[in-house]
């Protein structure tokens, strides 16, 4: 911020001008510059052109009128932008996706029998089947002895 120069004086006017020329002046600083150049009568010769400049400077830049813009554009007013409605398209895409998911016939179950032993894949189906069966037999061989005897008895 340019806090140290609240008022524009003959001592700091050059610094104010430098900031103005670099485009760093605030509206308030611009107002102070205009006030200084408007009220100071015995300006040095090198600053007088600035006084003329600030005398004609408006507080805000003028905005061009609609007519001026039209003239600049060669009298052609661009056509009104057409609004594209996305919702119908999104809805149609979703319905299409659903139709594909539900109307596509289900694939046949994939046949697979693989095993992993110590991180190595075994594609021998018989071996994989055997491993699966052994695991199941191990678990299903549990149960109370009474139940197993009942099963044996019923089997005979």
């Amino acid at each position: 911020m340019f806090n140290n120069m609240k008022r524009v004086t003959s001592e700091n006017v050059q610094e104010h001008l430098a900031r103005y020329m670099e485009g760093n002046s605030t509206q308030e600083e611009l107002r102070l510059l205009k006030e200084y150049f408007g009220n100071t009568k015995d300006l040095p010769a090198e600053l007088r052109p600035y006084a003329q400049m600030f005398a004609v400077l408006e507080d805000k830049p003028q905005t061009p009128s609609v007519e001026a813009l039209n003239r600049f554009a060669g009298g052609q007013v661009p056509a009104r932008r057409q609004r594209v409605r996305l919702w119908p398209l999104v809805a149609a895409a979703c319905i299409a996706a659903f139709a594909v998911i539900f109307l596509t016939p289900p694939k046949h179950e994939e046949n697979m029998a693989i095993a992993y032993v110590d991180g190595k894949m075994i594609t021998n189906q018989a071996q994989a089947m055997q491993m699966g069966q052994e695991a199941l037999q191990e678990i299903f061989s549990n149960g109370s002895e009474e139940e197993q005897l009942t099963d044996l008895f019923n089997a005979k």
Binding site: M112, A115, M129
Partner: protein
């Protein structure tokens, strides 16, 4: 309701259904962590994965087994995951579940879960045997039309 509102409502409903379906499709079992090697490394287990016609005689479509020997912490982790999945059990009836605990830990369990969205019966099985301060664990996931009685008949050693 104008046309724009109508389209927006339809689209919102469709998108919400999509999201719900995706979430349902991804719903998995906790013991998948074990099969995926997240509890015990894959190279430390024996795993078999069988699908399709190979299992037709057992009235099964999927059979996934994993066997490994591990320490107590992993045993507890597997047990915890199994108990978590047991919350989806079909019922506590003997015809849908058998289970035995020893010394405060699950020794073995065969549990029928609620059916899959395609109507297939689902089962999870667990067995843990003490092996000199380590534990031999067998974990199984099955899916198919077989009942627990069918599976008992097929796999119980006589």
């Amino acid at each position: 309701m104008n046309r724009t509102m109508f389209y927006r409502t339809i689209t919102t409903i469709v998108v919400m259904m999509c999201v719900a379906l995706c979430a349902f499709a991804q719903k998995g079992l906790c013991i998948n962590d074990v099969f995926e090697g997240k509890v015990v490394l894959k190279n430390q287990m024996q795993e078999s994965l069988i699908k399709g016609e190979n299992l037709a005689s057992y009235k099964l479509k999927v059979l996934h087994t994993a066997r490994f020997t591990t320490h107590n912490n992993n045993r507890e982790e597997v047990e915890k995951l199994f108990y978590e999945d047991m919350k989806s059990r079909l019922s506590d009836d003997d015809e849908n579940m058998e289970m035995e605990s020893r010394n405060g830990h699950l020794y073995y369990a065969i549990v029928q879960l609620t059916d899959s969205e395609k109507g297939a019966h689902r089962f999870i099985c667990y067995q843990c045997k003490d092996n000199d301060r380590r534990y031999d664990i067998t974990l199984v996931y099955m899916e198919g039309s077989a009942s627990l009685a069918d599976l008992r008949k097929t796999f119980k050693k006589k």
